[in-house]
């Protein structure tokens, strides 16, 4: 793992330094409109070294090679390291097509001219996606730079067998009081009510997002992250008051474990429920089909009736084409196929547990858990991407992450912490 990380950073730092800011425009669209399917060998940068992730990447690569006759070189990377090194990667010798995320994180790089305009691909297969996906794929100049492939909900995950043993039915939790009763009942049986990890600093952002959306609504949440509302607002303090009410039901080692630890708590039946993105379900499936069949997801319960359960974090993953890639036309062909109905079908056929972002996808092959993911996302009126994808990058991890960690350490300090968060937002340079 670290070998690969080092490989990327070393290579890209050197090349990135050499290329500097200059070569960006060079990619251009010299070859645009050549229209031929025979576009030569291409490279695909994949994110995620987990077994389940590598498996579907390889299956899809093989399917594309078979369907198109083109040769694809697949380079898999550690997800976090890839994310951290992306700007160096894109300035060096990036793969032609690579796995990335929609929204703010894509727009930033598109604005910098590091991503290739893929509007032409949208012209061809755009009718396979809902309009909201096109918006999420569009850069600030109105052109598309991204093709969505999959999305997943952040919801309450639990094991059906555990809940049955406890005599609880999370599907019928309607209110905050019911939710607290459920946590209490789980705790009484000696289990962790609500598993949480925050060693990485981002995991607990999911809980903050959903509490804020439930209590203050979608608009306030979005405005807060855009700096139009204040962190010192009493509404934000209210969110942390609810967060604090959940702490007694959490594991005592929140800051010791990361998302893998949360997954393992659920896997080993040590906890009742946890809030997490459904992507980890692939690891359950890798372990055993029985564990996967036991996994279930429901939306986080309503807190404020005014907002009900109208919002959910459902990040969209997909693909971009690097402007500095060697084979831009090839990259476009690749992402076009990968995001298309056929490409996503190949991915689903390989046993991947994500749900397709493609409107026309045949969902008849979905297993019950995938159908439930769709139902959970479908219920929500507003979709958010996740805190670290919905706000400035120099704010999310450097400021919000330690603030939530400090809150989990000493909840009584929350007012001081929020004042500091607001002060740090105010001090951010206008970029």
């Amino acid at each position: 793992m670290s070998e690969q990380n080092n490989g990327i950073s070393r290579r890209s730092v050197l090349k990135g330094a050499a290329v500097g800011g200059l070569g960006i425009a060079a990619g251009g669209s010299l070859l645009a409109g050549c229209g031929s399917k025979d576009v030569g060998p291409m490279k695909w940068g994949g994110r995620g070294l987990e077994e389940s992730s590598v498996k579907w990447h390889e299956a899809v690569k093989a399917a594309y090679e078979k369907a198109s006759g083109n040769t694809v070189t697949l380079n898999m990377n550690d997800a976090n390291a890839f994310q951290n090194n992306l700007s160096q990667y894109l300035q060096g010798t990036p793969d032609d097509g690579f796995d990335w995320m929609a929204g703010y994180r894509m727009q930033f790089y598109a604005d910098q001219g590091l991503l290739e305009d893929v509007s032409s691909v949208w012209d061809e297969i755009g009718d396979q996606f809902a309009d909201s996906y096109k918006i999420a794929s569009t850069g600030s100049d109105g052109k598309q730079y991204f093709l969505p492939t999959s999305w997943y909900p952040w919801g309450l995950h639990y094991r059906k067998s555990t809940m049955t043993e406890l005599g609880l039915d999370p599907e019928n939790i309607a209110t905050w009081d019911d939710f607290m009763k459920m946590l209490e009942a789980t705790k009484k049986k000696g289990l962790i009510g609500y598993a949480l990890g925050d060693k990485g600093g981002w995991e607990a952002m999911g809980t903050f997002d959903i509490l804020n959306a439930r209590i203050n609504g979608y608009q306030f949440h979005v405005d807060l992250l855009a700096g139009k509302e204040k962190w010192t607002d009493a509404k934000v303090a209210e969110v942390f008051k609810h967060f604090e009410m959940m702490i007694p039901y959490m594991n005592k080692n929140v800051l010791d474990i990361s998302w893998e630890g949360m997954r393992d708590l659920l896997l080993q039946k040590k906890c009742g429920a946890m809030l997490m993105g459904s992507w980890f379900s692939g690891d359950f499936k890798t372990l055993s089909q029985a564990d996967y069949d036991d996994l279930w997801i429901v939306p986080f319960p309503e807190i404020n009736p005014e907002h009900g359960r109208d919002t959910i974090d459902a990040p969209i993953d997909g693909l971009c084409v690097a402007a500095n890639g060697e084979n831009i036309e090839g990259g476009k062909e690749l992402v076009k196929w990968l995001a298309s109905k056929e490409g996503m079908q190949a991915r689903l056929d390989s046993g991947n547990t994500f749900t397709s972002a493609n409107k026309g996808q045949d969902t008849s092959s979905y297993d019950p858990f995938q159908k439930q993911q769709l139902a959970v996302m479908g219920e929500a009126k507003y979709i958010t991407q996740f805190l670290d994808r919905d706000t400035r990058q120099d704010f999310a991890n450097p400021v919000v992450a330690p603030a939530i960690q400090n809150f989990l350490r000493a909840p009584k300090d929350i007012n001081k912490i929020l004042e500091s968060v607001q002060a740090q937002w105010d001090a951010l340079p206008a970029l």
Partner: protein, 303 residues
């Protein structure tokens, strides 16, 4: 007078043939060029960058920021002071506990106490591991579900919080760092001690010096070059600490330290200038004590 001087100059010049001069300038010039290119250019670039606002991508987007980034760090970033505090504790711990322990160990092993070969190899083993590997090993040992937790009969829902409990995690990290540092210092000191002429110690013993007096008045002054190296290593290792913390906490702020802040801000998007400012602060902290100390010791040598 004049003619002698001229003669000397001429003779000196003649001492180097044309070939010699080419060879010499190549031997001096090429490393110097690389040094300037790979050390000074990036260093000065980083210092320059720390006074700008820049998204880190297009040169044309750079905007002058004056001391704004530093102002932001010193007055608007509480995590910076946490990181500084951790670096200071690290330095104090290494300076007052780990390094003296390493010296003591080296001295005892040099006296060939019973089992000295065993101690020597036991303390030497961690030194061959890189700091990153040290971090990985101890993370596997102490994390929830890790080896030590298993021995203590703690499963992942009920572990001892080694890394997340702020009352103890600083000492856990420092303990891990010392595990390697003590052996490293021991090794350096031991090789120095081996070169001390045993007759000096015998002479001191004949004059009736105690063990402590011998060490302080005879061994320590003889070991001056090694002492300087050890002090330099202790200070620099404490300030640039990064690897172990990164392996355990990742690039997040689980246990902030300056090295992590540099990395966190430079990787990812849009804040490389703040990372550069952290790097400059780190550089200033390292270079200050180093120059002062080296200057002093060289001055004494000249005397």
């Amino acid at each position: 007078m004049t003619s002698t001087a001229t003669n000397t100059t001429v003779r000196r010049r003649r001492a180097f043939s044309r070939k010699d001069r080419i060879t010499l300038s190549a031997f001096v010039g090429i490393p110097t060029a690389f040094h300037i290119l790979l050390v000074w250019v990036p260093a000065i670039g980083t210092i320059g960058l720390s006074f700008t606002f820049w998204s880190g991508i297009h040169i044309s987007d750079i905007k002058w920021a004056g001391i704004e980034n530093y102002n932001n760090i010193f007055t608007g970033t509480p995590v910076f002071w946490e990181a500084i505090w951790h670096n200071v504790i690290w330095l104090l711990w290494f300076g007052l506990i780990a390094t003296p322990l390493g010296i003591l160990l080296a001295y005892q092993i040099d006296r060939q106490i019973r089992g000295h070969r065993f101690y020597e190899s036991a303390f030497f083993v961690p030194v061959v591991l890189s700091l990153a590997v040290t971090g990985i090993i101890w993370n596997f040992m102490l994390q929830p579900g890790g080896f030590v937790q298993g021995i203590l009969g703690r499963d992942i829902s009920n572990p001892i919080s080694f890394y997340g409990n702020y009352d103890i995690n600083t000492y856990v990290i420092l303990g891990i760092a010392s595990w390697r540092h003590i052996g490293y210092i021991m090794l350096l000191y031991l090789s120095g001690l081996k070169s001390v002429d045993p007759s000096l110690k015998e002479a001191a013993a004949i004059d009736g010096a105690t063990e402590w007096q011998t060490f302080r008045k005879v061994i320590l002054p003889t070991m001056k070059p090694v002492n300087i190296i050890i002090i330099v290593i202790t200070v620099i290792d404490s300030l640039r600490a990064f690897d172990i913390v990164y392996m355990i906490y990742g690039s997040g702020t689980g246990w902030p330290i300056l090295g992590i802040l540099v990395f966190q801000n430079i990787s990812g998007g849009g804040m490389s200038m703040k990372g550069a400012a952290y790097a400059v602060i780190l550089f200033a902290l390292c270079i200050g004590p180093m120059i002062t100390y080296l200057k002093q010791s060289f001055a004494e040598d000249v005397k």
